[in-house]
Amino acid sequence: MRRPVKLDFKPLSLRETAKRLGVPPARARKILALVGVDFDGRIVSTASPKRQARVVKTSSRRAKTSTR
């Protein structure tokens, strides 16, 4: 039975990964923005803002939601 090889290194930072792959920082920043993270691993949104549902009060007793 094969045993998996245990890796003894820590993940590289994104900045270091890009550097080792020969990707300049500006280009790496652009690529990371595509996947929705920044150089420090913080999540940045790439989606356009959603239309918010607005509560429209139709009577004094009930409220319905509408996207209008």
């Binding site: 090889v5 245990k6 003894d8 790496a28 690529i31 996947v35």
Partner: protein, 200 residues
């Protein structure tokens, strides 16, 4: 070329039929914190020296021998680059036992027929599927940090696939099998690892 223990030499076919598995390898290796390296972009008459130097700079090498068929264009030939580069890695590992090499295949027992010199070596059988590649990478390696699950890797894979057109557009390339797109995909996959698995 400086030797790094995070680097893994990825020896795979570069053809459009292999696109899904190409992205699967990049995703799975990035998910366990590897830095994939490939021969893409290595051209010229010193190509062989540079390939040997690239293998020597990596602590591990992965050799996918699943593309053994003849190609469609005349004269119809099989691709010998993958087994040849495996031979280079095996020779390097004989001299430097710290280098570990792994053979991946899609069909069980085919390696005994296609490359009987490797009898006694158990190939990792991925079955030609994305999920299979991820499963077999996890069977070959355990990362020091959090070991990613297959569903997490699949999520990363789907996002990487979705972002491919954007990466191609940024580079102006027609094919994903170019050196620049390869490095951009590796950066994107590392970003997805941080996004889905944290940076540990």
């Amino acid at each position: 070329m400086p030797k790094t223990k995070e680097a893994v030499f990825l020896n795979i076919p570069y053809d459009p039929q292999f696109t899904r598995l190409y992205l699967a390898y990049i995703t799975a290796l990035s998910a366990i914190s590897f830095l994939p390296r490939a021969t893409l972009g290595i051209t010229g008459n010193r190509r062989l020296d540079r390939i040997a130097s690239l293998i020597e700079s990596c602590a591990y090498s992965i050799h996918d021998l699943s593309r053994v068929q003849l190609d469609r264009h005349a004269p119809r030939t099989p691709r010998f680059n993958m087994p040849f580069e495996l031979g280079l890695a095996v020779a390097w590992a004989q001299a430097n036992p710290r280098h570990k090499w792994f053979v991946f295949e899609s069909v069980r027992r085919r390696l005994n027929k296609s490359l009987s010199d490797l009898d006694g070596t158990d190939p990792y059988i991925h079955g030609g599927t994305v999920r299979g590649v991820m499963r077999e990478i996890c069977n070959a390696f355990v990362s020091r940090g959090t070991q990613p699950t297959i569903p997490q890797m699949m999520k990363m894979y789907r996002e990487l696939r979705r972002d491919c057109p954007g990466i191609l557009k940024n580079t102006g390339a027609q094919s994903i099998f170019t050196a620049r797109v390869f490095s951009d995909l590796c950066v994107a996959a590392a970003g997805l690892r941080t996004k889905h698995l944290g940076s540990d």
